[in-house]
């Protein structure tokens, strides 16, 4: 090869690559509105994005897997934790985590209530971006998806074939959304954010029998169902369970989950004896 040929190789390959790249970029712009749900980007999401940048969040956390590796990924955090929890967390992270126990603690950012709502709206929008199936399994902040490791998206092949409501319930429980496993472990004594659900049938029966019980359930199955669709029916006292007498669990599972999914989760949880 002569130097002239080498130069030609350089110019042509660079030009062709840049051309293909440009065409694909233009096509991506055509598809961004649908893939990123761009119609949902309102003033609050934009204001939340400014909070995200101004507070330099990306230099500890990752979002869409990008950023720094010192704090958990936040791509699906709103689907896992829900707004009531995130609001309380952002007001005072030290209420939920401690350096002594968890090794890391997020500084308190002194955000206003408006800014907190904005950044949650922004993160909520991000959680609905089409990430081509990433992350393949939920990335939890704390606790463990084991036992009951399941795929995040959809139903694994073996469970799809199964008609067993308990098995289907286990899959829904471990999927994100609804993200039950992100806050409730099924291991005895492991309270992640919400209380552990190990032994929940017996615990539920004991709670109903207690004079403090405020809800309407009459048996363990009814209690579990009530806790899912109406978390405030009977609020437990615990360091990270509630604020101002209100449960920190998302209150909209009655609408976001199908009736049969709730049946399945109840069936599954009843097996955790």
């Amino acid at each position: 090869m002569t130097k002239r040929a080498a130069r030609l190789f350089f110019f042509i390959s660079t030009l062709v690559s840049a051309l293909i790249f440009t065409i694909l970029t233009i096509d991506s712009h055509r598809q961004f509105p649908k893939l990123t749900n761009a119609a949902a980007i309102d003033a609050r999401v934009i204001a939340g994005k400014h909070v995200w940048h101004r507070e330099n969040c990306t230099n500890c956390h990752t979002l869409l897997g990008e950023g720094a590796y010192y704090a958990p990924d936040l791509t699906k955090i709103t689907a896992q934790r829900g707004a009531p929890y995130l609001r309380e967390f952002l007001k005072d992270p030290s209420r939920f985590y401690s350096e002594a126990r968890d090794g890391r603690l997020m500084p308190t950012l002194k955000l206003t209530d408006q800014e907190i709502d904005d950044v949650i709206a922004f993160l909520g929008w991000v959680s609905r971006v089409d990430t081509q199936g990433w992350p393949p399994r939920p990335i939890l902040v704390k606790g463990s998806a084991v036992p009951g490791v399941a795929t995040a998206l959809g139903v694994p092949p073996e469970a799809a074939a199964s008609q067993d409501p308990v098995e289907l319930g286990r899959v829904v429980y471990n999927a994100t959304p609804p993200g039950c496993a992100a806050c409730h472990s099924v291991a005895p004594g492991v309270n992640i954010v919400g209380p552990t659900l190990a032994g929940i049938p017996a615990t539920a029966a004991a709670r109903i029998a207690s004079p403090d019980y405020r809800g309407k359930a009459r048996d363990a199955a009814g209690y579990i169902r009530e806790s899912i669709v109406e978390p405030n029916a009977h609020v437990l006292v615990g360091p990270t369970y509630a604020a101002g007498g209100r449960s920190l669990m998302p209150g909209d599972y009655g609408e976001t989950l199908k009736a049969e999914q709730i049946d399945q989760i109840v069936a599954y949880l009843l097996t955790l004896r």
Binding site: K3, Y70, P136
Partner: protein, 456 residues
Amino acid sequence: MRYHSQRVAYPYFVVALLLFGLQMVFGLLSAAKYLGPDPLMGLLPFDVTKAIHTNLLLVWLLTAFMGAAYYLVPEESRVELHSVRLAYVQLAIWTAMGVTAVVGYVFRWTAGNKLLEQPFPLKVVIVIVMLMFLYNLGMTIRAGGRLTTTEGVLVGGLACTALLYLPALFEFDNYTVSVFYRWWTVHLWVEGVWEMIQGGLLAFLLIRLSGVDREVLEKWLYVIVGLTFISGILGTAHHYYWIGVPRYWLPIGGFFSALEPLVFLGMAMYAYYAIRRSGFAHPNRMALHWTIGSAIFSALGAGLLGLAHTWPAVNKWTHGTLITPMHGHMAFFGAYVMIVLGMITYALPGLTGRSEDSRETSANFWSFWLQISGMFGMTMAFAAAGITQTYLERILGLGYLDTQLKLQVHFLMLVVTGILFTAGVALFLWDFFFLAGRPVAVPEREGPAPARSPAV
């Protein structure tokens, strides 16, 4: 050194190396925070030390690139620099910008965009400085009437660096779109046009240090740069996989970024070929160490370790874990830090009027080996931590915080090897500031400078 004006390279190297030293302080601080607890959380939280650590890297490398270009261009174009005064003014503004940025980060003045944290007014200053720089180089080359391939590739890389910074000036409401264009700057810098700069400097150093025929080296330089863009431009897609883009970016990113190691393999072969022809004949053996080291370490860090997690099916699990800094640290060190230290070591005897073998001090020698071992150890620590994190957190589903607690021993290794590396950097600075001497006014020499290389 043949031209008076080449001396402006010296203050650029001074600023670059001081910032390099400061970068180590913030790197060690950040690493120590992984061990926790963090007594400095109220004063200098992780996000601040990490942003300063990475920003100092970019600023000091660019400062050194500028110094290297001011040294190289007059020699290649055989003419004095267009304006020495402009070069000094440029350095003053640039340094003021860098210092303002670092102090600003401490007081939380930031754009909060990874690696492009510079607030908008500082971004404008960066663009202005780059224009001053390119104008000065352009006028010099025009006055000399001679543009070699080596300097053409170097200056082309620097010009594209300025051009590709422009997308960073825009803001998009759609976060996905903003990440998409952030990579036009960040990826196309470090896996595109900066490789042109590395290639140009490598070619210059190999021509001078080995005396191999310029025509042959410059021919292969074109091939290497061509491969860089074939793999690098469409390889941008390996940053796009999971951010909300169409699915076709996955196979494209996988295929083209898998070609990226070819570039670094090419550079390593290039260096091997040159050295096989001439051996270690050049008296500035430390410059040879750094130059060959750059070719080898970039093949390992940027080539091999990049390949390790670039394929979509792998990246799906490793994306956003400590696997990324494993690759990032060794890649930046091999491709850019070592070539710059090679350039500084090569230029020093000429700048200070000492003999060619004067750089063979034990400080420089130990600096080389401590930096190599420290960086190798840090890479291994990040690799062990990253693989464990991927397995526990991403595959088994253990929570992030619980996983991090299980990585403590690797973070301890990171701090220990980081200290080794910093000791190496400290020795380089010691050698540069206290042993190498100060720049001297040299008498103008006519014709080629025979002392500078065995055969040109």
